[in-house]
C-alpha cells in the first residue's frame, strides 16, 4: 500500500465484470479523493452503470479489487456499501407514489426515527442544501426534479463520504441543474466525494475536477475536464471524430400545414400520469418541431394522443386537413401519419417476434402487405429486408427476434420502418435514447433527410442538445401544457429552461449548511 492510496477515499484496480455475451467492465482502475468531484464519462453501454453498481454492492465483480481509505472493500449488498459511507442516487427513482416524502425516506433507513423527528430532519437538511421539500407531500404529486431531491436528501441523511449520482440531470430543467450543481459543489467543499456519471460534456466540464472516460468497458483516458474541450471529450468517449448532421437548405413548400393540433386535451390513461391540457401547434411540410420537457410532463401521453392509441375529440388532430382526432392508429397511418414511440421493446416492437413480423406490425397499412385480411409474407419479408439494408441495421437476418438486437440497431429498425413508408407526418419520441453516438448521428441524419424531402416532423426528446441540433422550432411540455413554439435560432438556454418550467421556486444554498448536516448526523448516531 502506498501513501497516495491511503490519501484516496476509493481506489479501484483491475475491476472486471462480464455478463453472458458482453464484458461490461474490463480491467478498470481509477481512484477518487475526498471532496473530489469525479466524472465517469461514457456512452450508453460503456459500462458506467455496472461499475457504480459494483461500488454500491449491487453487482459482484468477477475480479479486481476495491479499497476504501486503504482498507479492502467488497460490499456484497447495498447495506454494506451504505455502512461504509457510500450513497447512491439512481437514474430511475425507487419511490412509492402513494406515500409521502417522509414515509419514503423512512423506508430506505435501517432504523427510521419517528415520523415527526424525521420530518424535522428532512426540513433542516433540505433548507441547509437549498433543496426545499415538504416532508408531508405525496410523492405522486411531485415533479421529477422534486423526486430527485427526495432521493438526494435520503442519501444526505446518511452523511455519506462518497455520493454516486447516475445521470442526475436527465430529469431536470437547466435552472434545476444549476441549483443541483450548487448543492454538489457545497457537498464537495465539505469533503464529500462525488462520483458523477454522465454523457453530457458541458456539465462535466463545469462541475468535475477529474474524469475517467470509459469505452466498451475499458478506461480509455483520464483527464481534467476543464482543460480539454468538449469536442475532445466527445472524441475520447466515442473513439472517432463525429460529424454533425448535414442540413439541406430549407425548401418552402406550398399549401396548408401538414399537421395541425388544436386544443388537444385528453386524460392520461396511466395512474399518476399527466393529462394533456389544451395543446396546440402546427408543423409545416419540411419543418422539424422539437418538443422538450422534463420526463413525466406529458410526453408519453402526447405520443399516444398523436399515434391514435389514445383517442381525442374530433378536430383536435388534423393531418393535411384531414380530421384524425377520433381515429385510431391505422386510420392515421392511412392518412400518411406515422409514429415511433420511445419504448422500443414492448411498444414499438414485440420483443419475441421476428423483424419480419415487426415490420408487418405497423407497416401493413401503408405498404399494402395485407390483401383481404390475408398477409403477403413474401412482400413483408421484402419490406423488412429493405429497412434493414437502407437503415444499416446490424442483424444476422430478418428472422431474428427483435429482442436479440442491440438498442441502437433496433431503434434504427423501428425508425427505418416508419420513415420508409413515405409518410407525410412523422412523430418520434426520444429518437436516440440509449443509442450509441454513431447510431444516434445516423438517426438524426435520416430524420433531417425526411424533412428535407417534404415531411413534417415532430421530435419529442429530453436531450436538449439533440433538439437544438435538428429542430427548426422549439416548444416545451410542462405539466401537460405546451409552450408556444419559438424558432430555435437565437434561443438561449435560459429561455429554454423557463419554457420547461423554470426551477419550481428553488433558491441557491447558503453557507453553513455543513454544520446543520453534521449536527443531524451526530444526533442520529447518538
Amino acid at each position: 500500500m502506498t501513501g497516495t492510496e491511503t490519501a484516496q477515499l476509493l481506489t479501484i484496480r483491475g475491476l472486471t465484470k462480464a455478463y453472458p455475451g458482453v464484458v461490461a467492465n474490463s480491467d478498470v482502475s481509477f481512484s477518487v479523493a475526498p471532496g473530489e468531484v469525479h466524472a465517469l464519462l461514457g456512452e450508453n453501454g460503456a459500462g458506467k452503470s455496472t461499475l457504480v453498481k459494483a461500488i454500491y454492492g449491487l453487482v459482484r465483480p468477477d475480479s479486481g479489487e476495491m479499497r476504501m481509505r486503504g482498507e479492502p472493500y467488497a460490499p456484497t449488498e447495498p447495506r454494506a456499501a451504505r455502512a461504509a459511507g457510500v450513497a447512491m442516487v439512481f437514474q430511475h427513482f425507487s419511490l412509492f407514489e402513494a406515500l409521502n416524502v417522509a414515509e419514503n425516506v423512512a423506508l430506505g433507513m435501517e432504523h427510521p426515527p419517528r415520523q415527526r423527528e424525521l420530518a424535522a430532519k428532512i426540513r433542516a437538511v433540505s433548507e441547509a442544501y437549498g433543496l426545499p421539500l415538504d416532508p408531508s407531500r405525496l410523492v405522486g404529486d411531485l415533479s421529477a426534479g422534486e423526486r430527485q431531491r427526495v432521493e438526494i436528501i435520503r442519501c444526505l441523511l446518511q452523511d455519506p463520504k462518497l455520493l454516486i449520482m447516475d445521470e442526475p440531470t436527465s430529469v431536470l430543467t437547466p435552472q434545476e441543474v444549476e441549483i443541483l450543481f450548487a448543492t454538489l459543489r457545497q457537498l464537495s467543499a465539505e469533503g464529500t466525494a462525488i462520483l458523477y456519471i454522465s454523457h453530457k460534456l458541458e456539465e462535466i466540464r463545469s462541475l468535475c475536477d477529474s474524469a475517467t472516460i470509459l469505452r466498451r468497458g475499458k478506461v480509455v483516458a483520464t483527464c481534467t475536464p476543464r482543460e480539454v474541450s468538449a469536442r475532445d471529450l466527445a472524441e475520447m468517449m466515442v473513439g472517432t471524430a463525429l460529424t454533425p448532421p448535414a442540413r439541406a437548405p430549407r425548401t418552402d413548400w406550398a399549401g396548408a400545414p401538414a399537421l395541425e393540433v388544436t386544443g388537444l386535451s385528453v386524460a392520461s390513461p396511466m395512474p399518476f400520469g399527466t393529462s394533456l391540457k389544451g395543446i396546440g401547434f402546427t408543423v409545416a411540410r419540411g419543418e422539424v418541431l422539437g418538443i422538450a420537457g422534463v420526463a413525466g410532463n406529458g410526453q408519453d401521453e402526447l405520443l399516444l394522443a398523436l399515434s391514435g392509441e389514445l383517442k381525442s375529440a374530433p378536430g383536435m388532430v388534423r393531418a393535411a386537413g384531414v380530421d384524425l382526432g377520433d381515429k385510431g392508429p391505422n386510420d392515421r397511418r392511412r392518412a400518411g401519419f406515422v409514429v415511433a414511440p420511445e419504448e422500443r421493446l414492448g411498444h414499438a416492437a414485440a420483443p419475441g417476434m421476428s423483424l419480419v413480423e415487426n415490420a408487418l406490425l405497423s407497416g401493413w397499412v401503408r405498404m399494402g402487405l395485407v390483401r383481404r385480411g390475408f398477409i403477403d409474407w413474401a412482400a413483408t419479408r421484402h419490406f423488412a429486408e429493405g429497412v434493414v439494408k437502407e437503415y444499416d441495421v446490424r442483424t444476422p437476418g430478418t428472422h431474428v427476434a427483435a429482442r436479440a438486437l442491440s438498442g441502437g440497431n433496433l431503434q434504427k429498425f423501428v425508425i427505418g420502418r416508419e420513415l420508409s413508408q413515405e409518410p407525410a407526418v412523422i412523430v418520434i419520441n426520444q429518437p436516440t435514447w440509449g443509442v450509441d453516438a454513431s447510431a444516434a448521428a445516423s438517426i438524426r441524419q435520416v430524420i433531417l433527410d425526411r424533412a428535407a424531402a417534404g415531411a413534417a416532423v415532430v421530435v419529442i426528446s429530453q436531450d436538449l442538445d439533440e433538439l437544438m441540433e435538428i429542430a427548426d422550432r422549439f416548444a416545451a411540455l410542462n405539466e401537460g401544457r405546451l409552450s408556444a413554439p419559438r424558432p430555435v435560432q437565437g434561443l438561449t438556454m435560459e429561455q429554454v429552461g423557463l419554457m420547461m418550467g423554470g426551477a419550481h421556486g428553488m433558491h441557491v444554498p447558503e453557507a453553513g449548511a455543513a454544520d446543520v448536516l453534521h449536527a443531524e448526523a451526530a444526533d442520529a448516531e447518538a
Binding site: A74, G373, A401
Partner: protein, 365 residues
C-alpha cells in the same frame, strides 16, 4: 449452482421437445404413483397407453378415441386463440353445457319433426349458446374490469345448475316415467348426430374439430387477425400501437372459444351422450385446457395432444376396470402432464448453466 439464463430467442428445438419430455416424465412419475398405490407400474402404464389401441378389447376402445378427442380438440382450439392473446377462458366446461342445452332445446322444441333443416339449426343454436355464455365474462371484463378467469370459471357452476334444472324441469322427457333427463336423441333421427362411418367413432363433432384445426392454422399463420392475436399476447402495448382494439380482440377470443365449446357440447349431447342429464358434464372443458397447452397452443399440436389426452381417458377407464385404479389417480395422472409441461417449458425460453464459485475469485479479497 444452477442458473437460468434467458435465451435471446425461444429455442425451436426445445419448444418441440418439451411435450415429448413431459409425456415421458409423466409416465415415470405416474408409474411411481401407481407403484405407491400397490399396482404394477409398467402394467398400469401399458393399460393406459397401449391396451386401448392394440390390446384385447381394442376393437371396442379404438372408436372411442375419436369420440373423446373430437370435443377436446374442438374446445382446445378455441381456448388456444384466447390463450395466445392472454385472454384466459377457464370456463369452457360451462360454455360446453350451455351449447348442449341451447342445441338440445331447439331440437326438442320441434319434436317429432323430420325436417333436414333441424340438425343445422341445432348446430347454430349450440354454438350460439356457448358464445352467449362466454360473452358474459367478456362484457364484465370490458365494462367493469373483472377477471375473466374467475367469472368464466364460476359460470361453470351456474351452468351446472341450469343443466340440472333443465333435466328435472323444462327438458324432462314426458315419456320418461318421471326420471330426470331429456328424450334420447337416438330415437329422434332428425336431431341425432350419428356415426358417419360405422366403427370409427367419427361423427360431425370430429369433422368440426378437424375443420377448426385447419381454420385456426390458416388464421394464425396467414391472416392479419391471427397476427394481431399473437401480438396482443406477446406485447399488449405493441398490439395497441398496431391498432388492435383490446375490446374487439377480447370479444373475438372469448366469443370464438365459447362458440366452439358450445358446438362440442351440441355434438356430444346429440351423439355419444344422447340426452340432457344431470351428469352430462364430463370435464372436457377443463381437460381441453391441458390439451391446449400440451399442444403448444399450435393447431397441429392440439390435434395430437387431443388424441393423446383421449387415450389417457380411455386407458384410464380401462385401468379402473381391469386394475381397480381409483379414478382420482387417473385425474392426478392428467394433472401431472400439465405440470411437467409447464415445468419443461422453462427450457424453451431459458437455458440452464452451471455456475461455479470460482467465477467470483478476487472479488472478496
Amino acid at each position: 449452482m444452477l442458473k437460468l439464463e434467458r435465451r435471446p430467442a425461444p429455442s425451436r428445438l426445445w419448444t418441440a421437445a418439451t411435450p415429448v419430455l413431459a409425456v415421458i416424465a409423466t409416465m415415470i412419475a405416474g408409474g411411481l404413483l401407481f407403484a405407491a398405490l400397490g399396482k404394477a407400474p409398467v402394467e398400469a402404464i401399458r393399460t393406459i397407453f397401449w391396451d386401448p389401441l392394440f390390446g384385447e378389447f381394442a376393437s371396442y376402445s379404438r372408436p372411442q378415441l375419436l369420440v373423446k378427442a373430437g370435443p377436446l380438440i374442438l374446445i382446445a382450439i378455441g381456448l388456444s386463440l384466447g390463450f395466445k392473446a392472454q385472454v384466459w377462458n377457464i370456463g369452457a366446461e360451462g360454455q360446453y353445457m350451455m351449447g348442449a342445452l341451447f342445441g338440445a332445446a331447439t331440437g326438442l322444441a320441434f319434436y317429432p319433426t323430420d325436417s333436414v333443416l333441424l340438425f343445422p339449426a341445432m348446430v347454430v343454436m349450440g354454438a350460439f349458446g356457448g358464445f352467449l355464455w362466454a360473452m358474459i365474462p367478456a362484457v364484465l371484463k370490458l365494462r367493469f374490469g373483472t377477471s375473466e378467469i374467475l367469472v368464466s370459471l364460476m359460470l361453470v357452476y351456474v351452468a351446472q345448475h341450469i343443466m340440472s334444472a333443465a333435466s328435472f324441469g323444462m327438458l324432462r322427457n314426458p315419456e320418461g316415467m318421471g326420471f330426470p333427463g331429456s328424450r334420447n336423441f337416438q330415437h329422434y333421427p332428425a336431431a341425432f348426430n350419428s356415426e358417419l362411418i360405422a366403427g370409427t367413432g367419427m361423427h360431425w363433432g370430429g369433422v368440426a374439430a378437424l375443420g377448426a384445426v385447419v381454420a385456426a392454422y390458416v388464421l394464425l399463420t396467414r391472416h392479419i387477425l391471427g397476427f394481431h392475436i399473437r401480438v396482443a399476447g406477446e406485447a399488449p402495448r405493441a398490439a395497441r400501437f398496431a391498432g388492435v382494439s383490446p375490446v374487439l380482440l377480447t370479444s373475438i377470443c372469448l366469443g370464438t372459444s365459447g362458440a366452439l365449446a358450445g358446438l362440442a357440447g351440441l355434438f356430444e349431447v346429440t351423439g355419444p351422450a344422447g340426452q340432457i342429464t344431470t351428469d352430462f358434464a364430463s370435464g372436457y372443458g377443463f381437460t381441453a385446457i391441458i390439451v391446449a397447452f400440451l399442444g403448444r397452443l399450435h393447431p397441429v399440436g392440439i390435434l395430437l395432444a387431443g388424441l393423446l389426452m383421449a387415450l389417457t381417458y380411455i386407458g384410464g377407464e380401462l385401468a379402473q376396470l381391469t386394475l381397480n385404479l381409483p379414478s382420482a389417480a387417473v385425474q392426478a395422472f392428467q394433472g401431472m402432464l400439465l405440470f411437467f409441461l409447464l415445468a419443461f417449458d422453462v427450457l424453451a425460453n431459458f437455458r440452464i448453466r452451471l455456475v461455479g464459485s470460482k467465477s467470483v475469485k478476487g472479488a472478496g479479497a
